[in-house]
């Protein structure tokens, strides 16, 4: 990567979509060159936070700690794959370059895109149209499209949610390797995923939202998922998240 990735500071004075504010004097930090993982129940505001940082939603002050503007240095992978149905897999993956009119270095780019698609198991489907792919395959295309942006800051909103367990496991490793030393925000529902990949872990709850930090095991990510310490924290986190959902009025069997 040509440049050193910046840390990102987010602060939201107040943000409300209805009577009760979602964010109130909220501060959050993505450490430079690290993976920050965000856990929390559905609807708590994780996606909103990602959209604020990406600059899609107004209302937050988002700054890079190297003082330069963040525009043009962020890649965003949304919850939906957002593939364009009229473009092939390969063309979708190169969408950013197409939109910016960067056609000069096409051959190298296409070669790089092909290589990444092969590595996520889509080497045979380069010319396929998105509607012929399964949900998991589409998500892998979206992941490669995000990687192809080669931006120092990467925001991913549940990037592996549609994948089967084994593919998810492999792609977590691939993403961790390719995005090592990037500044990454990973939103996920899976405590195991967060514990495996995150340098820093935060659990988001409440309204207005609060953040609580969880200490991952000391090893460097991607961590060994058979580590008993990691599995113990996963169990605790699952219990905590489940308890949080009960408090929020949801319990199995009681709709």
């Amino acid at each position: 990567m040509p440049e050193r990735p910046p840390g990102v500071d987010v602060s939201v004075a107040q943000l409300a979509f209805d009577a009760s504010p979602l964010f109130d004097s909220f501060r959050f930090r993505l450490e430079a060159g690290r993976w920050t993982c965000l856990l929390g129940p559905s609807g708590v505001g994780k996606t909103t936070l990602v959209r604020l940082i990406a600059g899609i939603l107004e209302g937050a002050s988002v700054t890079a700690d190297d003082g330069r503007p963040l525009s043009g240095r962020i890649a965003w992978m949304a919850q939906g794959d957002l593939l364009l149905p009229w473009l092939s897999v390969l063309e979708n993956v190169l969408l950013g370059h197409r939109l910016r009119g960067q056609r000069r270095s096409r051959p190298e780019l296409a070669a790089r895109a092909r290589e990444l698609l092969v590595r996520v198991g889509l080497g045979e489907r380069l010319d396929a149209l998105p509607h012929t792919l399964s949900g998991g395959m589409r998500q892998r295309v979206a992941l490669v499209r995000t990687l192809m942006e080669e931006r120092p800051v990467v925001l991913m909103d549940e990037p592996f949610s549609a994948l089967d367990a084994v593919t998810r496991f492999r792609l977590q490793e691939l993403a961790a390797r390719l995005l090592a030393r990037h500044t990454v925000l990973l939103v996920t529902h899976s405590p195991l995923e967060a514990l495996r990949l995150g340098h820093r872990l935060w659990v988001m709850t409440g309204r207005p939202v609060r953040l609580r930090e969880v200490r991952p095991p000391p090893a460097q990510p991607p961590r060994d998922v058979t580590d008993p310490a990691l599995l113990r924290i996963e169990g605790e986190l699952l219990r905590e998240l489940a308890a949080g959902q009960e408090v929020a009025g949801w319990a199995p069997g009681a709709r």
Partner: protein, 255 residues
């Protein structure tokens, strides 16, 4: 299966027609039976085809020009706020005027030849094409636009690479409507003032109580309209190759 159904329907209609002729005892110059019409068609085939060729040219030219003008207007309306302010009210007004009332004026201005009929067809086609394309251009998936924004795409790139292709299915349905009404425009033009074409032939046949010739011309006109519709429909489904061939059916089963 479809062909069998179409054949049954056609035979049923012909039978009903013949039944009405027998039951009403109408003389052939008021309501000729299917056999009389077939005889007239065979006897006057060269004459009918000569006139049909002229009408076909009017319809096809009108369709091409109307589709081009309509697409261009839809694009202008979507791309420029100024165009929206000035052109949109004009468009609505133009639709409030009945085309039949304009026909004599067009003949007066453009003469008895091809031009006035093409202009009629263009007038009648223009609005559905413009409206459908403009509507499609306004309804781009917001997720795609957000993605393009994070990718630092310019306004023109977004329009060309995302909004226009995303609006092609809408444009296609506008063009299907246009194709089905184009013959009306051309024939109305011929009706009001012309020296050739199926409308002219029918008007003359009518005046001379040659109902069988009138019906024969009508049959040819209907066959031309249906053939054109299916040809355009096939072309359009190739244009929007990523859309399922029969979206209505697909969604019913797969919801």
């Amino acid at each position: 299966m479809g062909a069998w159904r179409a054949l049954t329907t056609a035979l049923g209609l012909l039978l009903a027609w013949q039944l009405v002729v027998w039951a009403s005892g109408a003389p052939p110059f008021i309501l000729p039976g299917p056999l009389a019409v077939a005889r007239a068609l065979a006897a006057r085939l060269t004459l009918i085809l000569e006139h049909a060729a002229i009408t076909a040219v009017e319809i096809v030219l009108g369709l091409i020009i109307g589709a081009l003008l309509g697409s261009l207007s839809g694009l202008l309306l979507a791309a420029f706020r100024t165009a929206r302010r000035w052109l949109l009210p004009l468009l609505v007004i133009s639709q409030a005027l009945p085309v039949f009332a304009l026909a004599p004026l067009l003949v007066l201005w453009l003469g008895y030849g091809l031009a006035s009929k093409v202009a009629m067809a263009v007038l009648i086609i223009y609005f559905p094409v413009t409206a459908a394309f403009f509507d499609g251009l306004r309804r781009t998936d917001p997720g795609w636009l957000e993605l393009a924004r994070v990718m630092n795409a310019g306004r023109h790139a977004v329009l060309w690479h995302i909004r226009v292709p995303a609006a092609l299915p809408a444009l296609a349905s506008g063009l299907r409507v246009a194709t089905s009404v184009a013959p009306i425009g051309a024939v109305v033009g011929e009706w009001v003032g012309s020296s050739a074409g199926l409308g002219f032939l029918m008007l003359h046949a009518n005046a001379r109580m040659q109902a069988d010739l009138l019906f024969a011309a009508l049959v040819v006109l209907a066959a031309m309209a249906v053939g054109l519709y299916f040809a355009v429909d096939r072309l359009l489904s190739r244009l929007v190759f990523w859309e399922p061939r029969d979206p209505g059916l697909g969604r019913e089963d797969g919801a």
